[in-house]
Symmetry: C2
């Protein structure tokens, strides 16, 4: 009997549901998957065999427990055959990683670019870095699922156009189209390409590579030169009407406060952005980091004041979104507890006054690679998304 | 052939999808529904007939256009047979409405209660109001789909327990369970009961009774004695990890600001809550409204200052959520442009500085009935929700 379009779609949905289940509960057997999904045992067996053949799942060694009877075979994600490439388009640098299905970084390359470079030049350079990793994955006999790019601005999901990237000074750049054409010109056509805001992909990195189910809603707050957030709720990104959701660096924390790069005053970014903090202390970002490491009292006092502002920002986002988990990322993580300590304290004290507990706060599991790893997670997210 | 559980579920999903389609595009024909859904014409005909028999849809008169051939019959929601009851549990009053499927208010009753009354007493009084309307619907030969209640606090969705209602002074009240038992004791057992936060249900009221598709994400901001918000994104409520999302009255707008009823300082509610504004002007809420109507200069100046704070709150929520539509509701709408004018101006000016446009801002279409109408919408939402 011929398979209809509906059946093909249903099959794809069921396959991806099985992958997500095994990912969130490693070690599940076929019989347990049948119970969890309501699919018959024979359907599960058929789909699991396909997923094993295609490189998504693998059978784990059966533990000999001494109990009688045939042991069910535990299933896990197969990290050995499939791969995603994730890329960060930073304000002055590119970073490209190859990642396995289970979140292992297979290769990572970083390169700088001039802030004066035209968007096409920068995307050409990015395409070259990607093509090298595509070749390396092929040599290693890995199959590429796609490429995901995190960019420092709001992205229109349908078109892959970056509308505004204030810290890059770019407007209306068709990142996906331009990158696709550059890849094709370099002999790598037909690659599935996804583009999304950097904090959004970093949030996905925490969710899609988690080995156990992770807090939902998840709020990822990225603090570098720019400040932005990504929220995953019900397994999906909160993008807003035009892809501008999460522009929390421009929440006003103080009327008539310091001038922000966006033109407004008193924005969060004008208090806790890396450049703003360095400016406030009359030094460069590198000097800010060095002085913090050295324990310079004036620097620590400045960071403590900024940390209190960060605490208020965390509190306000928490009141709005009630996240079950907050993840902090971005270059400011290098400043460690000098910034984060006062932030946590301020947040917790505000909540305590209202007799409420704050959710857990962690740092990004991929650290400085949060955005490129997030780009790889975006590929996985798009493939595993229930329609 | 026997219908399996899966088929029954699929049928329910398809039925509800047809209702949503006809609601958002009134006048669709069976043939157009077939194209929109991918279901066969015979399946659509069968389901549409059932939906007509059950009171969800009705056939509209065919317009004679002069063109040749049989005209397809336009379908619409049937407002004549089914009904929902929606209720508001306010801080000192109850309001219960019966609503038709297409958003018509069939009956509306309001009653006060003492702030000293115990929760069980208040819920008993609410049950009595509901039972009267159930009887009236029965007399009018309408079928009740369920009862939805909007409450002034955070609700745990699964249990229907209201965790905290600061302006009522209630904590951990099992609203759904208590109300269900009271209804049963009054001879109205087995009614489908839903409970949710008041701003959340009011947001649903805008979405579920819209005759054309409405902005998504939709942000509903309720400003009364308390200040809270409800967000509908992708057709679903944003509830947060513990049902606390939208507690935006407690966003800190100013460090070391005025004391809020929650114990914190500088909360939005301490600037723009009705009681806070009245306190600030040294009068009661009733006097505040009277003086505003009379155009008292000191009152208008006070409201303008509060309006600027409201503008900052709207701006900050917009930066976080990027709503496609903002709806304002709550008792402060009675203050009209004295409060809302400066709010819009401040919001628009902030956005303008960053070269961005603000989304449309409207007032709740149900006005003072936003919460009870929202309770009725909650019933519809739960029944029409794609699983």
């Amino acid at each position: 009997m011929a398979i209809t379009g509906d059946q093909r779609l249903l099959k794809r949905i069921n396959r991806m549901a099985l992958v997500r289940l095994v990912r969130s509960q490693p070690g599940l057997s076929r019989a347990e998957l049948s119970i969890e999904t309501g699919l018959t045992k024979s359907t599960v067996s058929l789909l699991v065999q396909e997923l094993i053949d295609d490189g998504w799942l693998r059978e784990d060694t059966v533990l000999v427990t001494g109990a009688i009877g045939r042991r069910p075979t535990p299933l896990r994600l197969d990290g050995r055959r499939l791969a995603m490439i994730g890329a960060e388009l930073g304000v002055d640098h590119l970073c490209v990683t190859s990642m396995s299905l289970d979140g292992e970084v297979l290769e990572c390359v970083r390169a700088g670019f001039s802030r004066q470079a035209a968007p096409e030049k920068v995307l050409q350079q990015l395409a070259e870095l990607i093509v090298t990793q595509v070749a390396n994955l092929t040599s290693a006999r890995r199959e590429l699922l796609g490429v995901g790019v995190g960019v420092p601005g709001a992205v229109l999901e349908a078109s892959g156009v970056m509308a505004v990237a204030p810290n890059l000074g770019w407007r209306n750049v068709p990142v996906r189209e331009a990158l696709g054409m550059a890849l094709e010109a370099l002999g790598a056509p037909g690659i599935a390409l996804f583009v999304q805001n950097d904090a959004d992909v970093a949030a996905l990195g925490e969710v899609e590579f988690a080995s156990v189910p992770i807090g939902d809603p998840l709020l990822y707050l990225s603090i570098g030169v720019g400040v932005g957030s990504g929220v995953v709720v019900g397994g999906r990104l909160l993008l807003g009407g035009r892809g501008f959701a999460g522009e929390v660096g421009h929440i006003q924390l103080q009327a008539n406060g310091p001038r922000c790069s966006c033109g407004r005053s008193g924005c969060a970014e004008a208090f806790i952005g890396l450049q703003a903090m360095a400016n406030g202390l009359g030094c460069s970002i590198e000097e800010l980091e060095a002085r913090t490491r050295a324990g310079d009292p004036a620097t620590l006092a400045g960071l403590a004041t900024a940390g209190e502002r960060l605490g208020v920002l965390l509190h306000n986002l928490w009141a709005t979104l009630d996240p079950a988990l907050i993840v902090l990322g971005g270059e400011s993580c290098r400043l460690g507890s000098a910034l984060m300590g006062p932030a946590r304290q301020t947040f917790a004290a505000l909540a305590q006054t209202a007799n409420l507990d704050i959710p857990p706060i962690t740092e990004s599991r991929f650290g400085e690679l949060a955005i490129p790893a997030g780009g790889a997670a975006l590929v996985l997210h798009k493939l595993l998304l229930p329609i």
